[in-house]
Symmetry: C2
Subunit: 193 residues, 2 copies
């Protein structure tokens, strides 16, 4: 609160987020500056470059959206099956909220190593959730005997990728609810014995 109600840094992050969410591609630093109500050069007083700004926005998003808190719910489940379902519900519900961000970050992966590692870091967290759900299934003896825990985690992780969400909801035109239900069905078909 040094200057305004909310700090300029936060205003920048919110503006960036909003622009990404709007689905506009090719967002320039000048667009972000305009949206945040400051000069383009002032952005560089807060973030060294575009990549760092986008990465900071991703982290900001995660903290505002409280993904960790939401996943808490799935950790509370009694059975492995319930945990798998709860995890799928939480994660698939989260995807549309971060989709604009994810498009931008993935687009930057090709040219920016730091963007790539920011994305890998976030997806690593998802994988961790998948692994925990698989482990809970295995503990209950519900995991398909043909699958190692590693393999089962790979399958679930891939199934629940943002790219697959895009494919179903964008390219195939499925509504979110159908996507979510299908993911549950497929996950069970693939993982549960």
């Amino acid at each position: 609160m040094s200057r305004d109600q909310i700090s300029t840094k936060t205003r920048i992050l919110d503006a960036t987020w909003k622009l990404l969410e709007s689905g506009d591609k090719n967002i320039r630093m000048s667009d972000i500056a305009k949206a945040a109500g400051i000069s383009r050069q002032a952005l560089y007083l807060h973030f060294p470059n575009r990549a760092d700004l986008l990465i900071a926005t991703a982290r900001h998003l995660d903290s505002v959206k409280n993904i960790d808190g939401r996943l808490e719910r799935s950790r509370a489940a009694q059975s492995g099956m319930a945990r798998l379902e709860a995890f799928i519900e939480v994660w698939t519900g989260y995807i549309p909220e971060i989709h604009g961000m994810s498009v931008a970050l993935r687009a930057m992966r090709a040219s920016d190593a730091e963007a790539a590692s920011a994305w890998n870091d976030r997806m690593g967290a998802v994988r961790h959730g998948c692994a925990a759900a698989v482990q809970a299934l295995a503990k209950d003896g519900d995991l398909n005997a043909d699958l190692s825990e590693k393999t089962a985690t790979d399958l679930l992780w891939t199934l629940l990728s943002v790219e697959n969400w895009e494919h179903f909801t964008q390219d195939c035109g499925w509504p979110q609810s159908r996507y979510e239900n299908t993911m549950k069905t497929l996950a069970k078909a693939a993982l549960v014995s």
Copy 2:
């Protein structure tokens, strides 16, 4: 053969392909020109812009690799199941050969409408193959009764996406053979009654 053994246009396409295949990101027009042994400006005598060059390279690749001919094999299968398997074998075997190209084309989708439609066109062809396999399954009465042909096609198409291939072979480190076998198993688990 106007000038050299092979035409300059072909040399450009081959050079572009080779560079894309090498996995280098951020391939510039000047890189392509150098690889083709001509000046950067000469590229523009053959292709109006970068997008058109990449798209032409994609088509060139498809024609050299003869994807249509390869898919012929799956059309010859006797049963629906055999057709599904043959289609998966052909397509999954094709993915690694076009992967460099596909990365470049997908990266361009965000900023270039023509690149997006070139990619959609190619993926539309894959979807067509999926639909035919699903139809063959349905004809044999082997299609899961819970699924419409459209839904089954959506599932198979998504399962066999290039993005999922990347996920399994790159991010999960699976060898190609394992990827292929898993796709067959998963496809059957998801589609066959």
